[in-house]
Amino acid sequence: MQAAAEKKVLLKVDHLKQYFPVKTDSLFKPKAYVKAVDDISFHLYEGETLSIVGESGCGKSTTGRAILRLDEPTGGKVFFSGQNILDLNKKEMRKLRGDLQVIFQDPFASLNPRQTIKQILNEAMAIQNVVEKPNRMSRMLELLGYVGLPAEALDRYPHEFSGGQRQRIGIARALAVNPKLIICDEAVSALDVSIQAQILNLLKKLQHQFQLTFLFISHDLSVVRHISDRVMVMYLGKVVEIADKKALFDSPLHPYTQALLSSIPVPNPTLKRERIMLKGDVPSPINPPSGCRFHTRCPFATEKCKAEEPALREMGEKHFVSCHYAEKFR
């Protein structure tokens, strides 16, 4: 789905910051923070899928949680349908939650083991009061139909289902309240490839059916490529590149994106690629490197990268990169 210019912005994240205080040993030193998300901005169009990729700990989940206000962000604004949801009080927020849903990674941990599927779905509808009581049963059956589960599933407990089935239940729960935006945090990472495929297909199908908008968080680039319209790459709490899927996969501009893409093992033994090997480990987000946060591992880093933090610049049609030398990599 190529986004037309008049596409409506559903979610706009503006200078979002999420710092977590960490305990220090010193009494006197100032408090240290994990700058899990450090001043990022992006937006989502209605009906599209934006993916966030990046290595473990770069702040993907934190971004999702901040948008959902599962953790209170440290700073910034999150506009949903034009309204800054960070300004809402607890009650208003609870009401709005029907529009924002989430599907988590762990199909085992994301369902209360002591509730039947019926109770799970019923509760979701009851909390948001989206369906009148008498109609709930038929709605539940409808939901099960969407996610491809049989009606008998209703009276069973989560542990009686396989991982893939549980993930479907999670999806049904999210759908139960008629959301506009669904955040999928590693929604398929824990699943075996064959089941992963089923869930990916399902998500795509439902997106079409209900005009859903997805914020899709994953570190699996092949999955991301399959499902997204646009992709955002994060590194240590910062956005390093954001672009249409095609642009990003075909002509990544940030050295980190390039390295990331080249690191993915491809299930094709005939395809021998030139790999960009990164040296070292991801630095700690407590003391992120100065300047460009990637400079410690970047094969092209210069003194400038060490000293100066690059801005997110538009380098092509909706293709934003934060690298001083992005032009060079075109």
Partner: protein
């Protein structure tokens, strides 16, 4: 460079069963493969198909009870490991056959400096003195690319990052220059960029040391990049065993075909992914026939009656499927149709 065709490890009809209160779980149920010197054998398959149990069986490290090697042979340089005494087995572990585990976080002893964890194996197997073993350990750390290894050797695992810990595991496994290295999902817990480093390292060391490697993973990408041959496991069996390129080009078994099709292709756009319907049979009650039969798009009555053998085809590929036998009565044309 290395003479590749000398078999060092032959697994024949290996069965590892778990007797639990719920019954007997046939985690590994009669698998055969041969590993040659310098070769990398990949074992792939979905979660729970018995990959780890296969590797643990080779070192006789399955948790026992409830696990038990219920049959078969593991021939290492002609000796059957299954029949060795515990003492003889200890001589082999960490010395001639080593193992790298999946979880670098939990597989290192949290309270012992990593250098010591490497050195103790050296002292044991190579009869090195304290100092010599330590120096060798530091050298190993250097070999696996850990910066300032002297310092790191004295640290405990929690002071190292995940990637470094996995390197330590590798250094530990390779310290006594084993002939066989078993890597059980060595990179699953790591980030892609780190994974790339580690895989590169293993490949590199293999070519230097010439050992046979068993690479266990469920990531077909990893297999494609590192392995010479691949064994695909399904429900305790090997269902296909072939050179890597053959598997990826012409997967024979319907399961292998399904598996490859479910992967999103990074270089092409698809609206929908293929999937394999149904689910894996419980290891407590395997069906009488082919274990994949109920999910197989080509299933025939015979598939439900009797289990097919793992048979070598003309092109050298071994596959466990009735389709490739003369008992097959279904449409032959469909064999490749899925592709």
């Amino acid at each position: 460079m290395i003479e590749k065709n000398k078999p060092i490890l032959e697994v024949k009809g290996l069965k590892t069963h778990f007797s639990t209160k719920r019954g007997v779980s046939k985690a590994v149920d009669g698998i055969d493969f041969t590993l040659h010197k310098g070769e990398t054998l990949g074992i792939v398959g979905e979660s729970g198909c018995g990959k780890s149990m296969t590797s643990l069986s080779i070192l006789r490290l399955i948790p026992s009870p409830p696990g038990k090697i219920a049959g078969g042979q593991i021939l290492f340089k002609g000796k059957d490991l299954v029949t060795l005494s515990e003492n003889e087995m200890r001589e082999i572990r960490g010395n001639e056959i080593s193992m790298i585990f999946q979880e670098p976080m939990t597989s290192l002893n949290p309270v012992i400096p990593v250098g010591e964890q490497i050195a103790e194996a050296l002292r044991l197997h190579q009869k090195l003195g304290r100092k010599a073993a330590w120096d060798k350990a530091v050298e190993m750390l250097k070999l696996v690319g850990i910066p300032s290894p002297e310092k790191r050797a004295k640290q405990e695992p929690f002071q190292l990052s995940g990637g470094m810990r996995q390197r330590v595991m590798i250094a530990m496994a390779l310290a006594c220059t084993p002939e066989v290295l078993i890597a059980d999902e060595p990179t699953t817990a790591l980030d892609v960029t780190i994974q790339a480093q580690i895989l590169e390292l293993i490949k590199d060391l293999q070519s230097k040391l010439g050992m046979g490697v068993i690479m266990i993973t469920h990531d077909l990408g990893v297999v494609a990049e590192t392995c010479d041959t691949v064994a695909v496991m399904y429900a305790g069996n090997i269902i296909e065993h072939a050179p890597t390129d053959k598997i990826f080009e012409h997967p024979k078994h319907p399961y292998t075909q399904g598996l490859l099709d479910s992967l999103p292709k990074i270089h092409e756009d698809q609206e929908e992914l293929r999937t394999i319907e149904g689910s894996v049979p419980s290891p407590y009650h395997f069906p009488a026939g082919c274990r994949f039969a109920s999910r197989c798009p080509f299933q025939q009555p015979i598939c439900h009656e009797k289990q097919p053998e793992l048979l070598e085809q003309k092109d050298g590929v071994k596959v466990r499927c009735w389709m490739y036998t003369d008992q097959w009565t279904g449409p032959v044309g469909k064999k490749e149709a899925v592709k």
